[in-house]
Subunit: 478 residues, 2 copies
C-alpha cells in the first residue's frame, strides 16, 4: 500500500513538472515515464500477492486475532480496490489506454476544425470500450454506467444521480430565466500585476507558506500533492479578468483537503481524498462560498488595492457572482454551471446504455442546451466537442462537478449551523474555524468513508439540492 | 532495460525537484519516494527474469540466430550489470544503505563541531562494509578496491591509477612551488546581476534554449537529465565571485554529454554516459579548456559588460586561471586540484586495504597535504572531514575527479590536432565544431565503450598525464 501511495505521488510530480517546469522537448520521454509508472501501478495493484495477503488476514481473523479499526479499513478498501482492478482483463486495459490516447488526438483535431464527423469513430470506440469495462467491473445488480461511476465516486448509483439531477433540471431553469432578464454580468478590468498581488496575499492569509506550498502558473489551473508537507497549486492570469481570484481559492480547496487528512493514513491506501465529488466539494466550497462571499470581497478588494487596483468590495463581489447563461461549461457562473453537468450526465448515460447513437450526439446536445439553459449552441466546437473527457474515454466523471457544488453548499450550511454565521470572520479574512471544521468533519477521514456516508455524517442529512438552491437563488435575483 | 532507464530518469527528477523546487516540508515524503525508486530499481536490475532472458539469448545464438552489433552490446552490458548486481546479498545492500544515511548524519555533525572522533565509528563501519561489498563484487584477481572502482568506472584498475596518480604526485608539486612564489590569485568583485546576465547569454551561445533546457539556481551546482530533450543545469551566484561562470560551463559539459548520445540508445542500458571519469572529463573540458581559455575570456568579458560590469578580457582571464594552493578541494584551482584527489586516492586505498587504521586518518591527511601541496591543514573540518563521500560510504569515487581533468586535456589536444587551434573560434564564441567533435568521438557511444578504450579510440593514445601537464604548466608560470 505504501508503494502504491509513493507511485501515486511520483506520478503527480511527473505530471506537475510536465505542466509547470518541463521544457517542451521533454514531452516524448515524459510520456514513457508516465506510462511506466502507470504500468507499475497496475502491476502492483493487481498483484496476486495482495490476494494471498488478504486471504491470510481472513485466516488470522478466524483464529481470533482481531485487527484494529484503522487496519480493518485498510484491509476492507484493499480488498475492494484489488477485486475491482482484477476484474479488468489486461488486454481490455491496454486497449482502453490506447483508445484514450487516440481519442484525445482525434478530439483535438475535430474541435480545432469544428468537425464532429472526424471525431465520431474514436468516440464510438471509447463508448464501446467504456461499456465493456463497466460490464467487467459491475457488481451484482449494477448497470455498466453504475460501474463506471465507481471509478470516480464509489457507491454512487445512477438511480441516485437521476433523483438529484432531475431535481436540479426542474428547479434551476426558472432561476436562469429570472437572471437572464437582468443586466448583463458585471466585468472588471483588473491588470495582471494586481491579480498576482491579491492572489499571493490572499493565499498567505489562508496559511499558504513557502515551507510546505508552491504556487505557480500553468495553462490550466490544477493542484498536485506530492506527500505530506508538499502541496502545489497553480493559477493563471489574464488581463482584465478576475478568474485568478476564484481559481486560486478553488485549487486551495483541493490542496487543503489532502493536507488535512489524518497523518496516520499517510502511505496507506486510505490517505487520499475519498472521491472526485468530495474533492470538488472542497474546491467549490472555497470558490463559491468563500471567494464569492460578500463579506470576503472586502478582503479581496483590499488585496487588489495593495496591488494598485482600487475597487469597492460591492463592485468586486458583483463581478464575482454575475450570472450569464452561455454555451461553455468552464466559464459558466455558479448558477448555470450544474445544468451543463446535468446535460452531460443525461447524454453519457444514454450513450453507455445504448439509448443514444454517437451520431445523434450533436442534435441531442443542442436540444438539451435549449431545454436546460435556453442557449443556442453556436457550433459543435463550442457544443459537444468542448470537453476532452469523452475523447479520453472518461465516462462517469462529469457528475462529480455538479455533486461538488451541491455538497459544498450542504457542508457550508451545516458548518454555519454549528459555528454560527461566517460573515464577521470572513470580513476579516479569518478562516481558521472553517479549516478546523472541515478537517474534523470531512478531511481527516481520507478514504475511510465514501461520499454519501461522509456527507450524511458531516451534515446530519442525506445529500439534497435545497442548500445549493438557497445559495444560488439570491444570485439570480441580484 | 527501458523500464530501468525510465526509473533512472524518474529518480533524477525526484532529486532535481528536491534540490530546486520542493518546499522543505516535503523532505520526509520525498525520502520515501526516492527509497521506493531505489528498491524498484534494485528489484528489477537483479530480477531472475533477466538471467532467463540472457540464457535464452545464449541459446538463440547457439542456434545460429545472430544479433546485430548494437543488440550484442545491449546484451553484453546487461549481463555485466546483472551479474555484478546479483553478487551483492540483499542484507548487505540494505546494511550499506542504512550505514550511508547514518554516516552522512554523523559526518555533518562531526564537521560542524570539528570533531573527528565523533565520526570515527561511522567511518569505520563504512570502510568495513565497502570492503565487504568490494569482496563480493570482485572478479578473479581483483582486489576489493579494484571492485569498488568498477561502480564508477568499469575496467579501471588500482594498478593503472597508481601509475597515473604516481606520475602526477611527482610532476605537479614542483609546479605548485613555482606558482606559490608568484603574486596571489587575482580576484574580481563581480556583482550577482552581471554574473546572471553573463551566464544566461553565454549558455545561450552554446545552444541552451528554453525548448529543451532549464537553468536554475541551487545550493550546489548540478546537472540532471530527464530524458531526451530535457536537460537541466543549475548554478549559484555569490557577490564578488566568478565561480558561476566556471560552474555553469562545467555543468553544461555534463549535460551536453548526455544530450549527444546516439538516440538509438535511448531507453536501453547503453543510453547514458559511460563512467564518472568520462562524465567529469566533459565538464572539465568546458570548465578548464573553454571557460578558462584566454580567447574565450573576450566573450565572457563582453557578456559581463552586457550585464553592466566592465572588465578587460585579460584581467578576467587572470582571475579565472589564478593558482593558489589551499586546504579545500572544491575551491582548488586547476593546477592544484588533482593533488587533492591523489591524496584521497592514496588514503582510501589504504583504508580499504587495511594499511591505514581509521583512527590514523587525520595524521595521514596532514602528512599528505604537506607532502603534495605544502599546505598545513588548519583543522579536521577543513581536512579529512571536508568531503561527504566517505561518510556516505563512497570509496573509489574520488579518482574520477582527477581522471576527468587528465582526459579533458588529452581530448582537447587531440581535437585541436584534428580541427586546428580553437583560438579564433573561441574568440567569437563559436563552439559548434567542438560540440560535433565531442559528439562523434565521445558522446554518441554512450556506454558501448568503457573509459580507457573510449579515450584510446578518441585520441589515438592510452591515457597519459602529459597533455594535462602542458595545460597547467603555463598556469604556474603566469
Amino acid at each position: 500500500m505504501a508503494e502504491l501511495a509513493d507511485l501515486a505521488a511520483i506520478g503527480m510530480l511527473l505530471g506537475w513538472d510536465q505542466l509547470v517546469m518541463m521544457p517542451s522537448g521533454g514531452a516524448a520521454a515524459r510520456a514513457e515515464q508516465l506510462g511506466m509508472i502507470a504500468r507499475l501501478t497496475h502491476e502492483r495493484a493487481t498483484a496476486a500477492d495482495i490476494g494471498d495477503w488478504l486471504g491470510a488476514l481472513d485466516g488470522a481473523q478466524l483464529d481470533g486475532a482481531q485487527l484494529e479499526e484503522l487496519d480493518r479499513d485498510v484491509v476492507r478498501i484493499a480488498r475492494r480496490d484489488w477485486e475491482r482492478a482484477r476484474r479488468v482483463p489486461e488486454e481490455l486495459a491496454v486497449e482502453i489506454a490506447r483508445a484514450s490516447t487516440d481519442g484525445q488526438e482525434s478530439w483535438q483535431l475535430a474541435r480545432a476544425n469544428d468537425d464532429f464527423a472526424a471525431f465520431e469513430p474514436a468516440l464510438k470506440r471509447n463508448v464501446e470500450l467504456a461499456r465493456a469495462y463497466g460490464e467487467c467491473v459491475a457488481e451484482e445488480g449494477q448497470s455498466a454506467y453504475d460501474a463506471l461511476l465507481g471509478d470516480y465516486d464509489f457507491g454512487l448509483s445512477t438511480h441516485e444521480l437521476r433523483r438529484v439531477f432531475g431535481a436540479l433540471a426542474g428547479a434551476l431553469p426558472p432561476l436562469v430565466a429570472q437572471a437572464r432578464v437582468r443586466t448583463p454580468r458585471h466585468t472588471l478590468e483588473v491588470p495582471v500585476g494586481a491579480q498576482q498581488t491579491a492572489v499571493a496575499n490572499t493565499l498567505r492569509r489562508l496559511g499558504v507558506d513557502a515551507d510546505s506550498w508552491r504556487v505557480d502558473v500553468s495553462a490550466h489551473p490544477f493542484t498536485a500533492w506530492m506527500g505530506r508537507g508538499d502541496s502545489r497549486v497553480t493559477t493563471r492570469y489574464s488581463d482584465g479578468e478576475v478568474e485568478s481570484l476564484l481559481s486560486s481559492l478553488h485549487e486551495y480547496g483541493h490542496a487543503l483537503y489532502e493536507r488535512q487528512i489524518d497523518p496516520a493514513l499517510d502511505r496507506t491506501n486510505l490517505g487520499g481524498g475519498t472521491s472526485m465529488s468530495m474533492h470538488e466539494s472542497q474546491s467549490k466550497l472555497w470558490e463559491n462560498h468563500v471567494a464569492r462571499d460578500a463579506a470576503f470581497a472586502e478582503v479581496l478588494a483590499a488585496e487588489l488595492g495593495a496591488g494598485g487596483f482600487a475597487v469597492g468590495a460591492a463592485e468586486l463581489h458583483a463581478a464575482l457572482v454575475g450570472v450569464e447563461p452561455g454555451a461553455v461549461r468552464v466559464s459558466a457562473d455558479p448558477l448555470t454551471y450544474p445544468l451543463h453537468i446535468v446535460l452531460r450526465f443525461e447524454l453519457e448515460l444514454a450513450l453507455i446504455d445504448g439509448q443514444l447513437a454517437v451520431g445523434d450526439l450533436p442534435a441531442a446536445w443542442s436540444e438539451g442546451m435549449r431545454r436546460l439553459l435556453d442557449v443556442e449552441v453556436p457550433s459543435d466546437a463550442l457544443g459537444c466537442l468542448q470537453d476532452v473527457h469523452w475523447g479520453a474515454g472518461s465516462f462517469g466523471y462529469f457528475p462529480s462537478y455538479a455533486l461538488g457544488c451541491l455538497i459544498a453548499a450542504q457542508l457550508w450550511e451545516a458548518m454555519q449551523l454549528e459555528l454560527g454565521p461566517r460573515e464577521q470572520d470572513l470580513r476579516r479574512g479569518q478562516v481558521a474555524p472553517i479549516q478546523s471544521w472541515l478537517a474534523e468533519r470531512v478531511h481527516r477521514h481520507g478514504r475511510r468513508l465514501d461520499t454519501m456516508p461522509l456527507v450524511e455524517r458531516a451534515t446530519g442529512r442525506a445529500l439534497e439540492i435545497e442548500p445549493f438552491m438557497r445559495y444560488v437563488t439570491p444570485l439570480a435575483e441580484a
